[in-house]
């Protein structure tokens, strides 16, 4: 039942369909089902928005604190520092997303270059 456990050409696509598409779109469809019954300014909607926001924020923090790939080889302080610098620049420069990204990347790249020498 693993991704590479069956040689049939269609198996990987079935795997992606069930484990990827179904496992994802079922939540979207549920959202449409619920969403038709709730007013957007109700307290319930505020709660739904705060839960969604906290969930995505958790994804963000985990990508920074527990990253994959090459980023996992960098010190955590550097990654958190880069994120803080990016967010500070974003806030300081009138919510400019580009400023936030440039600041964060600059801190990360500088830190990695210093770490190499």
């Amino acid at each position: 039942m693993t991704f590479f456990g069956n040689d049939a050409w269609w198996w990987p696509y079935l795997f992606i369909l069930v484990a990827g598409w179904l496992a994802t779109d079922v939540w979207r469809f549920l959202g449409v089902f619920i969403g038709g019954r709730v007013s957007e300014d109700s307290d319930a909607m505020v709660l739904v928005r705060t839960i969604a926001t906290a969930l995505v924020a958790a994804v963000i923090a985990n990508l920074i604190v527990f990253p994959g790939g090459v980023l996992a080889d960098t010190p955590m302080a550097l990654r958190v520092g880069a994120a803080v610098a990016g967010f500070a620049a974003y806030l300081a420069l009138r919510h400019s997303m580009l400023a936030g990204i440039i600041a964060a990347e600059a801190v990360l790249i500088a830190g990695m270059l210093i770490g190499q020498t």
Binding site: E40, L55, E105
Partner: protein, 247 residues
């Protein structure tokens, strides 16, 4: 619709708003999403997926965190049920996002199946762009606008993943790390911009703090737990601040 003299004009402006949705897609968030998908293409290629499988997954799953979890499960040799469960857990957050968007997208004549179809486009980027801009779109044109926006985002990223896979020259570690940092910083700033009320900021700060904590305490349920605890905490703040504001 029959005998309505204004319907040709309505059709024309539907196409206009669809095109405006397409144009709204070409933005800084799209650029960053493309960069994040380039990183994903590298990850998936290393996992042993083929070009068509990666492009297929990009379009059919259409939530980068879900796709990253899916590829992670494939790398870890997970069986189909275990992989599906992990992806499902990472995608629960899509329900409240769709719940929040649907009342804003629904017009008086909107058919429900259209909403089900369009809900597939909901992921962080299109949701953030829509929550920022959809109130500037006439209510009856919002589904057309969102179809243009979402369809364009999906298509461009499927192309980006294909191109990245084909080129796939091994990036130097510095460029690779910079690319991987792009996704969280992009989410960090765009999520802050999309907050509707003060409680949204509180929810974000709580989620940032609880995500890594629950990752250590309850691995596998970290996102769900952080979302619920942070979400209810911020909602408590919302209720409390309104009470104090009213008295």
């Amino acid at each position: 619709m029959s005998g309505n003299p204004s319907s040709p004009i309505t059709d024309f402006s539907t196409a206009t708003w669809f095109r405006r949705g397409v144009r709204a897609a070409f933005s800084l968030p799209l650029l960053m999403l493309v960069a994040a998908h380039v990183g994903f293409a590298g990850l998936a290629r290393e996992a042993g997926l083929t070009l068509t499988q990666i492009v297929f997954a990009t379009g059919i799953v259409w939530a980068l965190p879900a796709n990253v979890v899916l590829v992670g499960a494939i790398i870890g040799g997970a069986g189909l049920p275990a992989a599906a469960f992990a992806v499902a857990l990472s995608s629960i957050r899509l329900t409240p996002m769709v719940v929040a968007l649907v009342p804003e997208m629904r017009g008086s004549r909107t058919r429900t199946w259209v909403l089900y179809l369009l809900s597939h486009f909901v992921a962080v980027t299109s949701w953030v762009i829509a929550m920022q801009a959809i109130r500037g779109v006439p209510r009856e044109m919002r589904t057309a606008w969102y179809a243009g926006l979402g369809g364009t985002l999906v298509l461009v990223n499927m192309i980006a993943v294909a191109v990245a896979f084909a080129l796939a020259g091994d990036l130097p570690p510095l460029a690779s790390a910079a690319l991987l940092l792009l996704t969280p910083i992009y989410f960090l700033t765009s999520l802050w911009s999309s907050a509707r009320e003060r409680a949204g900021y509180v929810a974000m700060v709580l989620g940032l703090a609880f995500g890594p904590l629950f990752h250590l305490w309850t691995p596998g349920f970290d996102l769900l737990a952080a979302g619920l605890v942070g979400g209810f905490g911020a909602f408590g703040y919302h209720l409390a601040s309104r009470r104090w504001g009213a008295t």
